[in-house]
């Protein structure tokens, strides 16, 4: 029998846990000692390390930057993006690759919505191994590979993690759209073959996204769906700070006619 038979003892027991520090947790208020030059600590919006097999969801304002760091070289950040003001507008992977004539999102690429607007830009990218094609693992694929894929088991799948994150913003099964996987990549062969780039990679690779709209973002950090290894995924660090909206002469905004028109459409939303 435990010694927590009365509410007072249970309260003392619960409160004694406060202040525990683990690797995968949010830091409140956010604090980071490695912000880029020129970013004031007061502008920090979010500091969280997302667990291996975990997920997070968050609203980020237009202009803010989101830095993701693959701390130990084996994270896989499956990302959903929604227009926070109108979540029926969301990331459209097909338009993202088709409009930019490019299968491989990297520094300078836009993540486009299904409304011809830019949700986010990839402002910096040390990884360049990302995947717009294979999507999230699901309960069935994880059951096949690991014997179990449930949220309550040891091998949660990315789709169900994304579903939980989306649900916390009032979204549901119809809203878990095709995702982009960051840090794990693919390359396409001449006959259409998909070759996954799974690492593990050097620890500490990072990328920075710039929010071009007010966003709901949902991130799952589960093994890539094509990863043949025994369950392998490591924690993912997310840091976000306030920043300026893209200027008229921003090099990403003006890089191609398609990208410029995506910004024009987005700016029209905020006129």
């Amino acid at each position: 029998m435990s010694a927590l038979a009365d509410p007072g003892a249970a309260r003392a027991h619960a409160r004694a846990m406060g202040g525990t520090v683990v690797e995968a947790m949010p830091i409140l208020p956010p604090r980071a000692d490695d912000l880029p030059a020129g970013v004031a600590p007061d502008d920090l919006l979010w500091e969280e390390t997302i667990a291996a097999g975990g997920y997070a969801s968050r609203i980020l304002p237009r202009g803010s930057r989101l830095r993701l760091i693959d701390l130990h070289g084996d994270a896989c950040a499956s990302l959903l993006l929604f227009n926070a003001a109108m979540p029926t507008e969301r990331l459209n992977i097909a338009d993202t690759v088709k409009v930019q004539w490019d299968a491989y999102p990297a520094a300078g690429s836009l993540l486009l919505s299904d409304m011809g607007r830019v949700l986010a830009s990839i402002e910096q990218d040390e990884a360049a191994t990302h995947d717009a094609f294979c999507g999230a693992s699901n309960e069935a694929s994880n059951r096949n590979r690991y014997g179990n894929g449930s949220n309550s088991g040891a091998y949660p799948n990315a789709r169900d993690r994304l579903l939980l994150g989306a649900a916390k913003h009032g979204l549901g099964r119809r809203d878990v759209h095709p995702c982009i996987n960051l840090f794990k990549g693919v390359r396409i062969g001449a006959d259409g073959d998909v070759t996954a780039q799974l690492g593990p990679f050097a620890p500490g690779r990072s990328l920075v996204l710039r929010a071009e709209m007010d966003l709901i973002l949902v991130i799952a950090n589960c093994p890539h769906v094509l990863d043949p290894r025994p369950w392998s995924v490591t924690p993912l660090r997310a840091t976000a700070w306030r920043g300026a909206v893209a200027a008229e002469d921003d090099p990403i905004r003006t890089a191609t006619p398609e990208r410029l028109r995506a910004f024009l459409n987005t700016e029209d939303l905020y006129r």
Binding site: K98, V99, A103, D114, I188, G192, V194, L226
Partner: protein
């Protein structure tokens, strides 16, 4: 129209036979075990294609699950179209075209404005066909996901450059899909006139269901 050639090699009894006009949407339910044949009647006509599980339409075709399961971006004979929950929805049991597209998505008024300029925003587009068909069936914008493009050619170059290029289909070529569950098929007979997916000339397609 060469009526007979369109039925060649199709087994079972024809239970539905319909011409989808150029530029139009189409919605049809196909039961498990039935085979849907899509006929590219005049050649190189992109057929934008979505599937929903009839019993639970939050389960729908997933291009990403399908690509991952076969480690290939193209649909060929033997490809299994998977749902977002990893279940087989339809199997391509035969096709006379080398491969079909799963990465190019559907044209929309909005993406046309990016790809070609704002002067194309008023043109009809596949997403509007998908919306029209889905709205009649109780679905909406949230239900539109990455689709199949039968008879459309989207190669990826070694450096990652991709694009919709001249088609590899021809008049009378077909794709046969066996339903692995009861499915609701939603099609846009693509109205695009700014790229080669329809040879710059949208044409009718034919839908034949055999049981």
């Amino acid at each position: 129209m060469e009526q007979n050639a369109h039925f060649e090699g199709l087994s079972g009894q024809v239970i539905h036979d319909e011409i989808v006009p150029a530029r139009a949407p189409w919605l049809h339910r196909v039961k498990a075990g039935e085979t849907l044949r899509v006929v590219d009647v005049e050649g190189n006509q992109a057929v934008d294609f979505l599937l929903y599980a009839t019993a639970d339409d939050a389960e729908r075709f997933s291009a990403q699950d399908t690509i991952a399961s076969q480690s290939n971006i193209f649909l060929r004979t033997g490809s299994v179209l998977l749902s977002n929950e990893g279940r087989p929805m339809m199997t391509i049991v035969a096709t006379s075209v080398d491969y079909h597209d799963m990465i190019g998505g559907a044209c929309s008024c909005e993406s046309n404005s990016l790809r070609y300029g704002h002067h194309t925003k008023s043109q009809h587009a596949c997403v509007d066909n998908f919306l029209e068909a889905n709205l009649r069936d109780g679905r909406g914008k949230r239900d539109i996901v990455s689709n199949v493009n039968f008879f459309m050619n989207v190669p990826v170059e070694p450096d990652g450059t991709l694009g919709i290029v001249d088609g590899i289909s021809a008049p009378g070529l077909t794709v046969d899909l066996r339903a692995e569950m009861d499915v609701t098929v939603v099609v846009s007979n693509c109205p695009q006139i700014n790229n080669p997916c329809n040879g710059f000339n949208p044409t009718p397609v034919r839908m034949i269901v055999a049981a």
